[in-house]
């Protein structure tokens, strides 16, 4: 694109105009600075995105909190923003989020850790080469497809074991969500374990430890900060997961922690309102920004925790 600049500099005889060469140098310099500024601008987009997220969520929630005091938002035990007798107790949505996330994490964290240990310490090279890309594929299946699977396949299957299970429930949504999160937990934990130097393992093996003993007592403690970060990413995924719960959990807000009941989470409530026809600016509509702000604060909290974990427990070799 810039043939004049990229061409090798023509050797100028000493008698040639020196100022001409200098001018070319100067224009080259300006071009460099312009390009650098452009690239810097692109890098700043990510900062602007974060700033814009905070700005939009706070600005739009403000309209909501002007009408509904914070205490009612935090401590009310009902969530009925679309009824005439409106209640705005975020606890109700939080209970759904916590229940479905807990079910998901009960699946994802043990299985993810086992797979990570297996791939990092036990599996032959060939198995790992095939399993890792496959896990990535699993993590990239669109979540709406997982939601469909929970509703159409898993719930009827669970109903055969437990006939009282309603057609929409947090249990099957949570279980499928767990399977969706396994790849993230497994892949990141495995990376952390693989980063542990071989010398530590060799020391352990030299003392006569088995692979399992080495994995549990040497590798895992040494990789603790990375594994912790993987768990936290898993938690963020579970809390922020939307379509699986929106499809399979029924979007009925209720304050209880029973996974065998239908329920609404923060995320599925946002979908429910977005699908409806409430006008922008009405209190009912602004609730989704308040709910989104709550969600954002939760994930921010987990992120900071992860950052602190990494700083605090990182082993440097």
């Amino acid at each position: 694109m810039n043939a004049t600049v990229t061409a090798p500099p023509v050797p100028t005889p000493p008698t040639a105009n020196v100022s001409d060469r200098l001018r070319r140098r100067a224009s080259r310099h300006i071009k460099e600075r312009v390009i650098e500024a452009l690239l810097f601008g692109a890098a700043l987009v990510s900062v602007f995105t974060t700033a814009a997220i905070v700005y939009i969520l706070v600005k739009e929630s403000w309209i909501f909190f002007e009408a509904v005091p914070l205490s009612r938002f935090l401590f009310d035990t009902q969530w009925t923003p679309l009824f005439d007798d409106a209640h705005y107790g975020i606890m109700v949505l939080l209970s759904g989020t916590i229940t479905s996330s807990a079910v998901a994490l009960l699946v994802a964290i043990p299985l993810g850790t086992i797979i990570a240990i297996y791939l990092s310490e036990f599996a032959p090279f060939k198995v790992r080469e095939i399993a890792k890309p496959f896990l990535e594929l699993l993590g990239d299946v669109p979540t709406i497809v997982y939601g469909y699977f929970a509703l159409v396949f898993l719930t009827p299957l669970l109903q055969k074991i437990y006939p009282d299970l309603p057609g929409f429930n947090l249990l099957s949504a949570g279980l499928v969500m767990g399977v969706m999160i396994i790849p993230y937990v497994a892949s990141l934990s495995e990376d952390a374990m693989r980063a542990v130097p071989m010398a530590l393992r060799e020391g352990s093996y030299a003392m006569g430890a088995t692979r399992l003993q080495t994995a549990l007592r040497v590798v895992m403690p040494a990789a603790a900060s990375g594994i912790g970060a993987a768990y936290i990413l898993g938690i963020s995924r579970a809390v922020g997961e939307t379509m699986i719960v929106a499809v399979a959990a029924g979007m009925q807000p209720s304050l209880n922690f029973n996974p065998a009941e239908p329920g609404a989470t923060i995320t599925s409530y946002i979908v429910q309102v977005a699908l409806g026809d409430l006008p922008h600016g009405s209190i009912g509509y602004q609730t989704i920004f308040a709910a989104g702000l709550t969600l954002m604060l939760m994930t921010l909290l987990f992120n900071l925790l992860g950052l602190w974990l990494r700083k605090r427990y990182r082993e440097v070799y």
Binding site: A43, S46, I53, L57, I117, L119, P142, T143, V247
Partner: protein, 308 residues
């Protein structure tokens, strides 16, 4: 001299440890198999239900109230157009940001801030991006519930993926390439455009494909900005309207995308629509699998072929 009992005790201990070791090896395989099995079940179940619906008419029909006549024409066209906007926005921005952070950025607080920011953005739930887009693109900028809003939203969503992939690809280029270029008198940008970008292009492409595969399956942010679920017409083909303003008509058209079409069919009470949902899901999964497969293959080729 050791007593026989001690030796026996040690042997018992060793046998026990070995047994646990083998047990865990089997447990690991079983856990992995559970993942494989879940995916296989999902895929086969969807194929059994939906394969019968997939024919040429399914791709060339609009959604309809009659499940057996409904198709995904407006959905796949919408997905393609949204992906076009996403790619046009995310690739230049992401690559530029990655290049800046690797080749230009001085080590100070602002660079650190940008880096922490990118890590954090990767963990923000996608629905929050939807709320951002709703406030920013739809209402503040007035883009409406259009292809442009959706494309830009997904571009912001996959930006961290593209940036991280670019940085990793650039970081794997050995320092001597840069030193050689600088030694010949090249400027930083000449080094980047003539050496760094060509050598890292395959790695960047891998990241871009993975990002796009993620974007094409995203449902939540697009529902949040208010994409319609029932669209029985097509937007203008890109860049075909009356110039100059007409060229960009397609950007502001209402639209639907594949995952939303599937969500719509999944949430209908009639069982016949579930078959359509399975068919749409099958197409969607095959699309993401094909994209991810390409990316994995590219990465594999890359690792094999490059020797510095």
């Amino acid at each position: 001299m050791m007593k026989t009992q001690d030796i026996q005790a040690i042997r018992a201990l060793i046998t026990k440890s070995r047994r646990w070791d083998i047990f865990f090896g089997v447990l690991g395989i079983l856990a992995l198999m559970l993942c494989v099995l879940t995916f296989m079940t999902l895929f086969v179940d969807m194929a059994i239900r939906g394969l019968g619906r997939i024919d040429a008419a399914f791709f060339t029909s609009f959604p309809s109230r009659h499940p057996e006549q409904a198709g995904i024409l407006s959905a796949w066209v919408g997905s393609a157009l949204v992906m076009l906007v996403t790619g046009l926005a995310a690739v230049p921005l992401g690559v530029a940001a990655g290049v800046y952070l690797e080749e230009y950025a001085p080590k100070h607080w602002l660079t650190d801030l940008i880096e922490i920011n990118i890590t954090n953005l990767a963990a923000v739930p996608s629905i929050v991006y939807g709320l951002l887009a709703l406030g920013l693109f739809v209402y503040l900028f007035g883009f409406g519930q259009s292809i442009l809003s959706a494309g830009l939203t997904l571009a912001l969503l996959i930006l961290p993926v593209v940036i991280v992939a670019t940085r990793e690809a650039i970081r794997s280029i050995p320092l001597m390439i840069r030193e050689g270029s600088y030694a010949c008198g090249a400027t930083t940008w000449q080094t980047v455009s003539d050496h760094i970008l060509p050598y890292s292009s395959a790695g960047i492409l891998t990241g871009v494909i993975i990002g796009m595969a993620r974007a094409i399956g995203e449902t939540a942010p697009i529902i949040t900005i208010g994409a319609l679920t029932f669209i029985a017409f097509l937007p203008n083909a890109p860049f075909t309207g009356v110039p100059p303003a007409g060229l960009f008509d397609w950007l502001f058209a209402p639209f639907t995308v594949m995952p939303i079409q599937m969500f719509n069919w999944t949430s209908r009470p009639e069982a016949a629509f579930l078959i359509n949902a399975a068919a749409a899901g099958l197409v969607l999964v095959l699309m993401t699998l094909a994209m991810n497969g390409t990316a994995i293959w590219l990465r594999y080729r890359l690792r094999k072929n490059i020797t510095w």
